[in-house]
Symmetry: C2
Subunit: 374 residues, 2 copies
DNA sequence: CTGAAAGCGCTTACAG
DNA sequence: CTGAAAGCGCTTACAG
């Protein structure tokens, strides 16, 4: 049984010879047809400029004739480079990562690299295992998300000397080149916008249930901004969802609203949760934005399609993916110098749509009056 | 410059030796430490049962000591197997594929295979290029979507003798093992359900703008079912969207509704388009399901969150991904026999929610009366 | 059950 | 600019 299943090279070759389909051409065949050495054939293909034009033509012609494509494994083994890049994202279920991965793959492919993909479900231990697997695989570089990892992950990557970039954040305390937006500043601006609309009573729906530095930064941005106005956010006004799902947003809104009916602005750290919050508000007969304002983050497709459409922050996922690819390849091919070149944070535009509005007039007035009377 | 960038093996090794981090252990080191030959060390690791227990222990201990992990490229080159599987999906932007890919990757990883991922944006030519790249890469197997490919794709795969499965369909005219649902039957059932609610005036929002056999099968299922009741669907009642986006669903609904105000049932071939249709209906003040019924397909997360939530068909994406992995590995490791074993279509449950209802009483009565009078 | 040796298909210093 | 040869790190028939 075993012997039938596992075909040793010789058997495989014999079988191929016996069958009608021609065996795959090797560099050796190209060299022979072009009447040059293996070395020259290799050079004509990989560094054409250092080969005499006439000979180069002969080799390239032979390549055509034989429909030759190099064996990537052999190439990898002898060159020490796999032309492979690994990426570990929390999940593909969030469009923000799906879009980023698409762009990453597209750019990587265009530049001759293959993407190895994995997802951690926001679990650092799982992420560590994925990273280790990719390192064993021999990836030339690694793309991660955020700036929080299992304790062993970074030392392992450094031990392998594997180039690394991280994404969706614009800075790393660990010195990793980071391609993304300034999450904190983005919600700071969002909060300022809400403050200008007259909001003073806030609540946050955050997916900080699992370690998530992006969500934490977004929360901090809000906290900063309102603190500047002397407003504090009691801990019970923050709902920590484990996953950024629509259902979690629904539940969060229901609970926060029940506990704090006076809140006028609900800031969500992802669009998915904001979609749930808007849906739940509607179900409860609460008008958006007349009664409460709700904001999202990400600007995924559905954000523009809820009723009312979401005010949110645009995360340029495709741009992040493409730039991460370019940057990583720069480090892989250019050496460590490329690692330290600074990267500007990407723009995270505030997208104002219908889910936010000024605090309802009468209420606001009433409150001010009361405050004055006190 | 060139010489500084590209580190030849010797240089690389010298550098590693000079630096504090120990060079990565090779099988040779393991063998030496265990005082056995390379061959025995290899066997103790890969086929432990054929090695004497005492020696096996020695080797395994050495592996621990040296923290040895095999070089996958070397292993691939000498064994002819990469333990790598390639998948090409239309897009990751649709949750149905994102979820399937997640499950595929998880199962593949659990069984020792690495996923190479690519996306075609529904473009057969692009898909062909991705396939070719993966084949050159040496993938042990391939996972595709649907049953419609560029003319050269299948011959190329067969020439490489690379195991292949396809997904999201339950049968292939090309003899490819298929893991998925019966799309045609699913909409047939959906149509029967709508017929029972009294609907006679249908329109379809399909993403058949680009070649998409799943969408076509879904359309055909409806056509079959209503034909059985003697109802025909004029071509102008079918909107062919190029991409299954929410925006496309919106536009499709607007146009179809304007051109055919008498239509009571809008069947969409994906949830995303149905979400758009529901949103547009609401915007126009058309009540769902009182005035029109709208159905989706896929049962992605948002399907349950629209207002009203969508009646749709559940596509078990995670199951498809996991089964595809198992099946493909079965073919890879078990040989061609595994290719022809039949696969039952997966269950595609009809999920009835709030976006569908009986045809409005008065209208239905009026119509029947009129018909009787005629 | 174990070992010596060939081989997987390339790349690349090294010497011309 | 070109060629002969060693080497990348494994696996596996082959012979004991």
């Amino acid at each position: 049984m075993d012997k039938t299943d596992k075909k040793p090279p010789s058997q495989r070759k014999a079988q191929a010879d016996a069958s009608p389909a021609p065996a795959r051409a090797k560099l050796e065949h190209v060299a022979r047809l072009a009447k040059v050495s293996l070395a020259t054939a290799s050079r004509a293909i990989n560094q054409p400029e250092i080969v005499r034009p006439e000979i180069r033509e002969r080799v390239l012609h032979a390549v055509e004739m034989l429909d030759y494509t190099p064996d990537r494994m052999a190439k990898a083994l002898s060159s020490g480079r796999t032309h492979t890049v690994g990426a570990v994202v929390p999940t593909l279920g969030n469009a923000i990562f799906a879009d980023g991965v698409e762009a990453l793959e597209a750019r990587l492919g265009a530049r001759g690299y293959t993407l190895i993909l994995s997802h951690s479900q926001y679990d650092p231990a799982r992420e560590f295992r994925q990273i280790r697997g990719m390192l064993e695989y021999g990836v030339d570089g690694l793309v991660l998300v955020g700036d929080t990892f299992a304790p062993d992950s970074l030392p392992l990557i450094r031990h392998h000397r594997t180039p690394l970039v991280t994404t969706y954040v614009c800075a790393s305390r660990q010195g990793i080149p980071a391609i993304g937006i300034d999450n904190r500043q983005a919600t700071h601006r969002m909060a300022r916008y809400l403050l200008e609309l007259g909001h003073r009573e806030f609540a946050v729906i955050a997916n900080t249930g699992l370690p998530n530095d992006r969500s934490q930064a977004r929360l901090d941005g809000l906290l900063d901004a309102i603190a500047e106005e002397g407003i504090r956010l009691p801990p019970d006004r923050i709902f920590e969802a484990p996953l950024p799902s629509i259902a979690a947003g629904r539940e969060a809104f229901r609970r926060l609203r029940a506990a704090h009916p006076g809140v006028t602005a609900f800031l969500c750290t992802t669009d998915a949760m904001a979609v749930g919050a808007v849906a739940e508000a509607r179900r409860e007969g609460i008008r958006v934005p007349e009664d409460v304002s709700i904001t999202g983050f990400d600007d995924v497709e559905i954000a523009a399609e809820t009723d009312p459409p979401l005010t949110t922050v645009k995360v340029p996922a495709a741009e992040i993916g493409a730039i991460a690819a370019d940057r990583l390849i720069g480090i892989i091919e250019g050496g460590p110098a490329a690692t330290i070149a600074p990267i500007a944070p990407l723009e995270a535009a505030l997208v104002v749509r219908g889910s936010t509005g000024p605090v309802a007039g009468p209420v606001a007035r009433k409150r001010r009056t009361r405050a004055a009377a006190a």
